[in-house]
Amino acid sequence: METLAYLARRTAQALVVILIVTVVVFCLLHALPGGPARGILGPQATAQQIAAFDHDQGLDRPLPVQYVYYLRTLLHGDLGTSYTLNEAVSQLVGQRLPKTLVLTVLSAVVGLLLAVPLGMWQAVRRNKPADYVITTLSFVAYSTPVYFLGLILVLVFTQELNWFPSQAPQGDTPAQVFADPVALVLPVVTGAASMVAVFSRYMRAATLENLSEDYVRTARAGGSRQGAILFRHVFRNSLTPVIAMLGYYVPVLFGGALVVEQLFNYPGMGLLFWSAAQSSDYPVLLGCVLVISVATVVGTLLADVVQRIVDPRVKAGRA
């Protein structure tokens, strides 16, 4: 009952956020000069051609009208038609989004699986040489532009060692993508690197905070050993704030996917978006931003719900 009410409230919030996103994106694309018609028809287009194009695409009507019209078509699942690919944006996105999700989810899982134990280990060995080394490495991983890291990895593992290919799997479905796991290694590692850096820091901080909590002292006073305390109590308590942070990290993951897909020529949404930006394909740009934002909002929502399941206090609304 309470969970349902919570879900309803949280979903309503998410819908408001999505509505604001549509306004932002709409304004961003339409209020700026260098209109879409010129972008599509090229510099040689005559004024009549442009007017005709604008009329065709509804670009000559007042902005609020265009917005309302846009919202109504959105509700029908219609994201418009690509200027350059002559295909429905929803179809393009529908093909590409699963592959981007495969890449981001895989990167996130690999990143977390490395970051969580690393952060705990650092907390236990805090201010020892190993902690300093890992801290420095996480700073470096966080501070390296994704495309630079990808380049270095390709130079080392493809050009020098020839262990992994520099192209990501090219298949059209997620199944085909998984058919070539070796080709996934470099894209996933590139995508996971900064995640490991950020989340090992969070986990280290959360573990340190929990190690100084009273309940740890109570457990020690009851004769529990350090290892048991870490795994039975501290681990779960430290994980809950980290899960909450995961929600905020979803947009960063998608941002990373944009670069990784371009770098490794992985035909997901990022690459679609990238080529749309090169050709001023506004419907695709608009559609992708919207879908990515919705995915982000949903991701944040999921993180909240997971946190609620893990932490009984959140469920009761006390924490």
Binding site: I20, V21, Y142, L155, P251, G255
Partner: protein
């Protein structure tokens, strides 16, 4: 009785001195500070000692490996790479610092207003922040690059506008805590104005949180500047920045001309690391919340 009354002071040393001591004891943070100072010297004083021509191409001197007159070699149009590193660093550092500070200022004002107002004003303002966070910054930057190529000031503005969201959240949280502190409650209960509560208590007490946020924000902004050229938004040649040098050198790297990417790449990593380390040190020294 008086003997019991004159109990020992809880903390005899003023707070900022404790913070300073904590900061200077953090080796990574002090190293970070040194790195930032060195790079500032390198980029702004360096050109006086090692003057090079970064505006005209020199087609007789292209793609030279490091050595001789060109310590770090030359690029595809004959610019001296060491000189270019200084030249590009000026832009990277200036844009990064300005954009980071701009983002912090916008975020502080927005967050403080939302947190102090509370109620539905807060709810609406925070949904706007949520929406901003939901659109990944790189996507917005790429959309902007499809529309226009801004000048340096425009670039600072764009970067500031996409990155004020995180500081606004932090400052809002801080404002929420501070406005229910006993001394603010006392002030309000005895007829103090909102203006007084904000200007005399809440903002001064948020300074450390804001400074820490600004440091991290500058680190992120310098990193974002490095993406900007890659996305096609960067400053136009012959001007450049570290990110521009890096993206220009990407293809060259495959043919073994490592000196075109390693120096700018390392410069970015070092400076961003340094600002993050300073931020970490400041956060621990001030004992405030901030990102982990």
């Amino acid at each position: 009785m008086t003997a019991v009354l004159q109990t020992a002071p809880v903390e005899a040393v003023p707070n900022y001195r404790v913070s300073l001591r904590k900061f200077t004891r953090n080796k990574l943070a002090v190293a970070g500070l040194a790195v930032v100072l060195l790079f500032l010297l390198f980029c702004f004083v360096g050109p006086l000692l090692h003057s090079t021509d970064q505006t005209h191409t020199d087609l007789g001197q292209v793609n030279l490996a490091p050595g001789g007159a060109h310590w770090l070699g030359t690029d595809a149009v004959g610019h001296d790479e060491l000189g270019r590193l200084m030249y590009g660093g000026k832009v990277s550092l200036l844009v990064g610092l300005a954009a980071g500070i701009l983002a912090t200022v916008i975020g502080t004002l927005w967050g403080a207003a939302a947190g102090y107002a509370g109620g539905w004003v807060d709810a609406v303002m925070m949904r706007v922040v949520d929406a901003g966070i939901a659109i990944p910054a790189l996507f917005i930057l790429l959309v902007v690059s499809a529309i226009t190529t801004p000048d340096t000031a425009g670039l600072i503005l764009v970067l500031g506008l996409v990155s004020w969201l995180v500081p606004s959240r932090l400052v809002r949280a801080e404002t929420l805590t501070l406005k229910s502190r006993d001394y603010v409650l006392t002030l309000r209960a005895t007829g103090g104005t909102h203006t007084r509560a904000i200007t005399r208590h809440i903002l001064p007490n948020s300074v450390s949180t804001i400074v820490v946020a600004a440091t991290f924000q500058v680190a992120d902004a310098i990193l974002l500047v490095a993406y900007v050229s890659y996305l096609g938004l960067g400053v136009q040649p012959p001007k450049t920045d570290w990110g521009g040098m890096l993206s220009a050198g990407l293809t060259a790297a495959y043919s073994g001309r490592w000196w075109l990417i390693v120096p700018p790449g390392l410069a970015i990593i070092l400076v961003v690391c340094a600002f993050n380390a300073i931020g970490d040190g400041l956060r621990d020294a001030f004992d405030v919340r901030g990102r982990g």
